[in-house]
Amino acid sequence: MTSWTEELTRARLHVVSGKGGTGKTTIAAALALALATGGRRVLLIEVEGRQGIAQLFDRAPLPYSEERIASAPGGGEVHALAIDAEAALLEYLAMFYNLGFAGRTLRKMGAIEFATTLAPGLRDVLLTGKVKECVNRTGKDGRHLYDAVVLDAPPTGRVVKFLDVTKAMADLAKVGPIKGQSDGVVRLLHSGDTAVHLVALLEEMPVRETLDAVSELDGADLRPGAVLVNRVHPARLPARSVPVAAEGRVDSSRVLAGLKAAGLDLDEFTLEGLVDETVEHAIRVQSQQQAMDLLSESDLPTLELPELTDGVDVAALYELAEVLVAAGVR
């Protein structure tokens, strides 16, 4: 495990992606809490219409507005926003055309659904455009309203397409309001202000997808940030015992002697069960290690987050945030 870098500390937009099922939303929320720790104000954004943030923080679905959802240690605040492409499009159109009542008609007719289907890149341009607006927004004192923005982005399979606004715009109008808007988005996403973090699990598919995503990001001139390894199973056995145990060799007489010393008098059946559990544990630890070695090819800062046996609730988010803070996230 390596730690958070100075460069990452300077980023203001933290994009979090990962293969489906790796816990991307959970980690994005924990990262937002970690970044807010010590008194900062952080905005956590979701874009896929899942209301994942609301579920995670155990509250009613978020409207299309920024709401304060949590406090972080040291006076920090996390706000949240669920961006909806339809609402973002109407917001844009309203900026440039006087829509009023017509906007509602468009929505009712399904026109917006249609426009975004016709040009799939449009949806992404709208969503990233709104993200940019949040990142750059300043308060009355001229300072940024949010110290950092964390974006719970689409999964690794789609994230580069999502962020590669330049490419999406190639299909769209060469002039007009959206074009002007998107140039600013491109500047932000390709600058040192943005880092794209990847959430992985120590299993074959997620690791491979992570590595693929890193090279895709590099190819699109987007900056990979850190690899956030989620649900790391604690290694209980002494390291030297792992390879032997993984091959099925556990010295059961030594285990039995140890158990006796601790006052546990167990039957044959239970002892065998413990040995089987130990072998499975060792195989799992070993395959985790192999996955970790493979991940190190990415040459990115790699932070580990433990598996939470009690599941993920709000308290668990703070626990994960603490782990991130300890690994240098700020």
Binding site: G21, T105, P120, L122, D171, A257, Q286, T309, G311
Partner: protein, 375 residues
């Protein structure tokens, strides 16, 4: 009392013709589909498994090296099933192209295939993969070469996408907007224009400002070329949908013992029942049941603490701690599954204990098959 999902009778029954494995992303659908197919073949059926985006090692274990969009017999040394096993990976672009070639004449097909809008729709529209999986399933059924077809479904955010995507794609291709854009002078178009009035002209203006004139032009050319084959296209999707509701089909919902995956599984179960689609049951995948069932976690932890104080028996202490971890995980999984079965008492269920490492050969798949069958 929840019934146990018993796969062997299902796999052995000649009336079972199609099994669809569905569930949210990352729960092990592909592996489940492959393991069921292997087991069915070894029990004597002539099976084909349609996989979508399998892990590389899983694909290799089935002898699949590349996407070639046709079922291949699984030939692995020492593998001699009583029946036969075929496997394939879905190539969505090629399936779509083939479909266009079948339904449109050669000239028209070329016109469609080279249209930039078609290229967008066939490669990046979010419902295309689901649609093509359905289409391929329809083709495999029509070929009538296998007596059991097992289908994996695309990795989607939500398990329901598989059922909804074909409809969504049809709506887009058949939509009234695209029609109006493609033939604004047509009488029907004019009628509609009148009705929606300013809203629509404002809309066309806004859309062309945003997406650009070229794209609208491509879309309109595409729709005109596509129009003649659209009837066949939709009819086909409708037939496949009907097939999914026929008695020979069964849905296997796969979920991990995690809140999100089980929530999706719940939606799916409810949806299947609303659509009268036959549900076989739920596979609670990758569970971690306790093996040393007689040792409570609290006792194990107390003993481990004692041993750590003396430092004499590090191995035994580690064994006790990993056992306590396992009990905690198993308890949580049991609680989550109990919540699901309380809400859906009629759904048969089988828990499939996790293998400690990824599957990379037929032996691994066979072992999962055994676990699926509750052996």
């Amino acid at each position: 009392m929840t019934e146990k999902l018993d796969f062997d009778p299902l796999l052995d029954d000649p009336a079972t013709r199609v099994l669809v494995c569905c569930g949210s992303g990352g729960v092990g659908k592909t592996t489940t589909a492959a393991a069921l197919a292997l087991r069915a073949a070894e029990r004597g059926r002539r099976v084909v498994v349609l996989t979508i985006d399998p892990a590389r090692r899983l694909a290799q274990s089935l002898g699949l090296r590349e996407l070639d969009n046709h079922p291949r017999e699984v030939v692995v040394e020492g593998f001699e099933p009583k029946g036969e096993l075929f496997a394939m990976m879905l190539d969505m672009r090629r399936t779509f192209d083939d479909m266009v070639l079948t339904h449109a004449g050669r000239d028209r097909a070329d016109q469609i295939l080279s249209n930039p809008f078609y290229q967008t729709i066939s490669s990046s529209f979010s419902g295309t993969q689901e649609y093509m999986a359905m289409e391929k399933l329809g083709q495999l059924v029509a070929q009538d070469e296998w007596d059991l077809i097992i289908v994996d479904t695309p990795p989607s955010r939500s398990a329901l996408d598989f059922l909804d995507a074909p409809q969504r794609l049809s709506t887009v291709l058949d939509g009234r907007f695209i029609r109006m854009l493609s033939a604004p002078a047509r009488a029907s178009g004019r009628g509609l224009l009148k009705i929606v009035g300013t809203g629509f002209s404002l809309f066309t203006r806004a859309v062309s400002t945003i997406v650009g004139g070229q794209l609208l032009q491509d879309a309109s050319t595409f729709v005109q070329a596509f129009d003649s084959m659209f009837g066949g296209f939709r009819e086909r999707a409708q037939r496949t949908y009907e097939l999914l509701r026929s008695p020979g089909t069964g849905f296997v919902v796969v979920a991990a013992a995690e809140p999100d995956a089980l929530r999706e599984a719940s939606y799916f179960v409810e949806r299947l029942s609303a659509e009268n689609m036959p549900l076989c049951g739920l596979v609670a995948n990758r569970t971690h049941p306790v093996i040393a069932t007689d040792l409570p976690a609290a006792n194990a932890l107390t003993a481990a603490d004692d041993l750590d104080r003396t430092g004499d028996a590090p191995l035994a202490a580690a064994v006790l701690r990993l056992h306590a971890d396992r009990v905690a995980v198993a308890d949580r999984e049991r609680r989550l599954l109990a919540r699901f079965t309380r809400a859906h008492p009629g759904v048969a269920l089988v828990g499939v204990p996790a293998l400690p490492a990824d599957v990379h050969d037929l032996d691994g798949l066979r072992e999962i098959g055994r676990r699926l069958a509750g052996e």
